[in-house]
Subunit: 188 residues, 2 copies
């Protein structure tokens, strides 16, 4: 499902972003240079502890304001998505789960080759302290499903795969969609 | 509102994307290379003709499937946002409007310096044929506000500023938000 054709050449390698270009035939037979960027896949985790969902209030050194987000982060070289989700969860929260389920894997952006995989990690247990890197400050919040829906609806929790965010807004209004998410997240 | 600090250096210039890097001090006093990309601002236009809203079914040479979107495109060097909106509207539709209003100007992405300005252009009149470039095929659709809300709600019309998309999903369910958008779009 890459947005970058096989004929593309990598014209820049960065610390996060790579840039790719190719010659694209246009509708009139002429050619133009087309360009996309790629970035490493990321994972996001809806983690439950009992009947609560764990989200985080995160600060980053280049941002003035903290922001709310799901647990998650960037997939490292050689990792698969689920390994990355488990590693990020342990590092950011100190929790582990034995009950993982992939919810979706989506490409959110038209001009960027970037996949977000969203997981549910149910009934997580604390096994260690957080193990954060020098660019992270993370405070954990434990919230009910209702509180999460309200925060998503108000735009307070917006840092997540936008399709999931939109579906949770539908869930705020539509009891059937709400029930579907509640069952998915808590298996109840 | 740039996401790129003044100290950043441009390390790559592409046909769409530029890449910027800087040394960021971390929470423990160490430094790491941070990176963002920038891309030209874009404009999107909710154009009305009588009691209809005009959207487009667009094909691009590197995409297998056509997609629905608002009228709009990339701001060119030396143009301001409103000039770009008027130019793209005329090129893509052949219509002009005397009644423009800026709805929002938002940065949709965390790691990309990119602004989307959303306009309403009311009571547009046809003055010419479309004037498309070699990378565009555009068919115009004229729809009622109800039809637009249904398409946004179903995810059929998703190519727009995501905050506006989310607000139109709220409008599908919430009569007050719906009334606010109807008044904004049609001034009625």
């Amino acid at each position: 499902m890459s947005k970058i054709p096989d004929s593309a050449k990598k014209v820049f390698s960065g610390v996060i972003f790579d840039v790719w270009q190719w010659e694209q035939e246009m509708y009139d037979g002429t050619h133009a240079t087309f360009e996309r960027v790629s970035r490493p896949s990321t994972v996001e985790v809806i983690m439950t502890v009992g009947d609560k969902i764990v989200i985080q209030r995160q600060s980053q050194p280049d941002r003035a304001e903290p922001f709310l987000s799901l647990v998650g982060g960037r997939v490292e070289v050689g990792e698969d998505m689920l390994e990355a989700a488990k590693r990020e969860t342990l590092e950011e929260t100190g929790y582990v789960s034995e009950d993982w389920e992939l919810v979706s894997a989506r490409q959110p952006s038209g001009k960027i080759d970037w996949t977000i995989s969203l997981y549910v990690a149910r009934n997580a247990k604390k096994v260690s302290e957080q193990n954060l890197d020098a660019g992270e400050k993370i405070e954990l919040l434990m919230l009910t499903f209702d509180e999460i829906l309200t925060m998503v609806n108000r735009g307070e929790l917006r840092r997540m795969d936008q399709s999931a965010r939109i579906d949770l807004i539908h869930a705020f209004y539509d009891p059937e969609i709400r029930k579907k998410w509640e069952t998915l997240i808590f298996k109840r």
